[in-house]
């Protein structure tokens, strides 16, 4: 399958002599500007009538060369770039990077900073899942959840804005802790949000969980087994929905997660409906974590002693956290100078997208849209 972009200016896939119906295999081009491909993703589908025989993803439209830029920026300067990769879960990107560099510098963030970091990351996880639910339901045709989820997501973005000035790409953390002390009324805002959001999540469940058509459109769609998930390196809610009980926050706790108790929701069949249930349960667990974190917020400094100019010793470190989409890892190699020698980002969306081909085999075109939605990929992270 030669890549159509190489030199061919006009992609002529339906040559005049064979109308598309009598050739047994039809190549359909779900192009970069398609309403259902969350961002600039192009999927070339090989169809037999309505059934999908196989598909190939053409990515790279949003490639900004973040890793190349990292080699020409100092450690602190690269921090905002990290938020631009997975712009929906910017806070957890920042957390991963800051903790990786702190490990490199062998520095420990103070407990208060760790608690603040956990609160903001979990809020960001809920916001990311809300955006996923809204757009995923819209792809399958249910218009209403989109407005409910965005109304509630607005509350979280208000808290971010009050804390660090930005709503989406927050740049909330610094290497060594948090720069800003929490504004007074921060705990109260978070508690208000939790009380506000608890009935709201039941509203989503009311709308969709027992909705017959929703169940029919998602049950047994895009099934992937636990074994395939591990072989394909798929992590996050998709892996948990396939029955593998694995969450980095429990397996290799970072920040302050070992102080909180929460469960890991696990699915059984690994289809789109299970992933929907797992993500809804994850939102509830995040709320539990936030409540515990806010109640137990310790006082004390929020910034560890970190030199003005960071010059970490020569060495390399791999540190990964549980981002809303899956395992987000940073492999940083330092050569002793102020600029990192190499920053490799292990993006969950990029690896999860690889499973699209396996999940869509034998499904119908309408299901490809649903599966892309359920994988919850963000193209900024896929292309870096």
């Amino acid at each position: 399958m030669n890549d159509p972009t190489s030199g061919v200016t006009h992609l002529d896939i339906d040559a005049k002599e064979s109308t598309f119906l009598d050739s047994s295999e039809l190549i359909l081009n779900m192009g970069p500007q398609h309403p259902a491909t969350h961002g600039v993703l192009r999927v070339i589908l090989k169809l037999d009538g309505e059934k999908v025989l196989g598909l190939e993803c053409v990515i790279g439209y949003l490639h900004r060369g973040v890793e190349k830029i990292a080699e020409n920026r100092t450690y602190a300067m690269f921090n905002p770039y990290v938020d631009r990769m997975d712009y929906v879960a910017a806070v957890s990107n920042g957390l991963g990077y800051c903790e990786a560099v702190e490990k490199l510098l062998n520095v420990e963030a103070p407990p208060r900073a760790k608690y603040i970091r956990v609160i903001l990351t979990e809020l960001n996880r809920i916001a990311s899942h809300q955006l996923w639910l809204g757009t995923h339901a819209l792809d399958i045709g249910a218009m209403t959840p989109l407005f409910y989820t965005f109304r509630d997501r607005e509350e979280i973005l208000k808290i971010f804005e009050k804390y660090c000035g930005a709503r989406l790409t927050t740049h909330a953390f610094r290497i060594g802790g948090c720069l800003y002390e929490t504004y007074d009324g921060f705990e109260q805002d978070v508690r208000n949000f939790l009380d506000f959001f608890t009935p709201k999540i039941d509203e989503y469940e009311e709308l969709l969980t027992t909705n017959r058509i929703w169940v029919q459109r998602t049950r047994d769609v895009g099934v992937i087994s636990g074994k395939d998930c591990i072989a394909l390196g798929v992590t996050g809610p998709v892996l948990r929905a396939s029955g593998v009980k694995w969450d980095l926050r429990k397996a290799q706790p970072y920040a302050a997660y070992k102080d909180f108790d929460f469960e890991i929701p696990v699915g059984t069949k690994g289809d789109t409906y299970d992933r929907y249930l797992v993500r809804m349960a994850e939102m509830r667990q995040s709320m539990r974590i936030i409540r515990q974190a806010v109640d137990g917020l310790p006082s004390g400094p929020i910034m560890a002693k970190v030199p003005k100019v960071l010059k970490p010793p020569v060495g390399e470190i791999y540190h990964s956290i549980e981002a809303p989409k899956g395992e987000l890892g940073y492999f940083i190699v330092s050569d002793g100078s102020t600029q990192p020698y190499r920053v490799r980002v292990r993006p969950p969306s990029f690896v999860n997208l690889q499973a699209l081909d396996l999940m869509c085999k034998g499904q119908l075109v309408a299901d490809v849209v649903a599966v892309i939605g359920t994988l919850d990929i963000v193209l900024g992270e896929v292309d870096r």
Binding site: A231, I317, F350, V351
Partner: protein, 158 residues
């Protein structure tokens, strides 16, 4: 675990740890069976990441790194090997299917060929693009002017 590996592979292998993360420095020849062994006997069933480093001044400039994780043992390990420019690295697609795209990206960014890879071609950059950006000798502002002119019809990106 390191002891058993040492007995099997002898000299070519040395285990180091840095900041609590242990990694194996192995030479190129041992690699295929080492990865196979790690996956089967040592149950490292999840290949987290495959990436590379470029040290232009060394005679074998490329460091290819496999980051593995084992679910049963909840343990992480890194395997590093040095390769000359243009040397063929054994592909890990047969061991972990996730390596397919990861190796394609390393090829796209560094120009390291993986033999045994089913469909090795660029993944992020367009096919006709000349040059591999993440190499140290590839300037930050540099671009493949020819490709830009043909396909986008503009002078140059910058």
């Amino acid at each position: 675990m390191v002891g058993s590996l040492k007995r099997r592979f002898g000299s070519g292998l040395e285990a180091l740890t840095y900041l609590g993360q242990n990694y194996l420095q192995s030479d190129a020849a041992l690699l295929p069976e080492l990865l196979q062994n790690l996956r089967d006997e040592e149950q490292f069933d999840y290949c987290v990441d495959i990436t590379a480093l470029h040290y232009p001044q060394r005679e074998r400039p490329f460091d290819v790194i496999w980051i593995l994780y084992s679910f049963p043992k909840n343990e992480r390990i890194r395997v590093k090997a040095q390769y000359a420019d243009g040397a063929a690295v054994p592909s890990a697609v047969k061991l972990w299917t996730t390596a397919n795209w990861l190796e394609r990206e390393v090829f796209d960014m560094f120009g390291i060929r993986f033999e045994g890879h089913p469909d090795l071609k660029r993944i992020l950059l367009p096919d006709g693009w000349k040059g591999h950006p993440l190499r140290k000798d590839y300037g930050i502002l540099q671009q493949d002017q020819a490709w830009v002119q043909i396909n986008l019809g503009i002078e140059s990106g910058q």
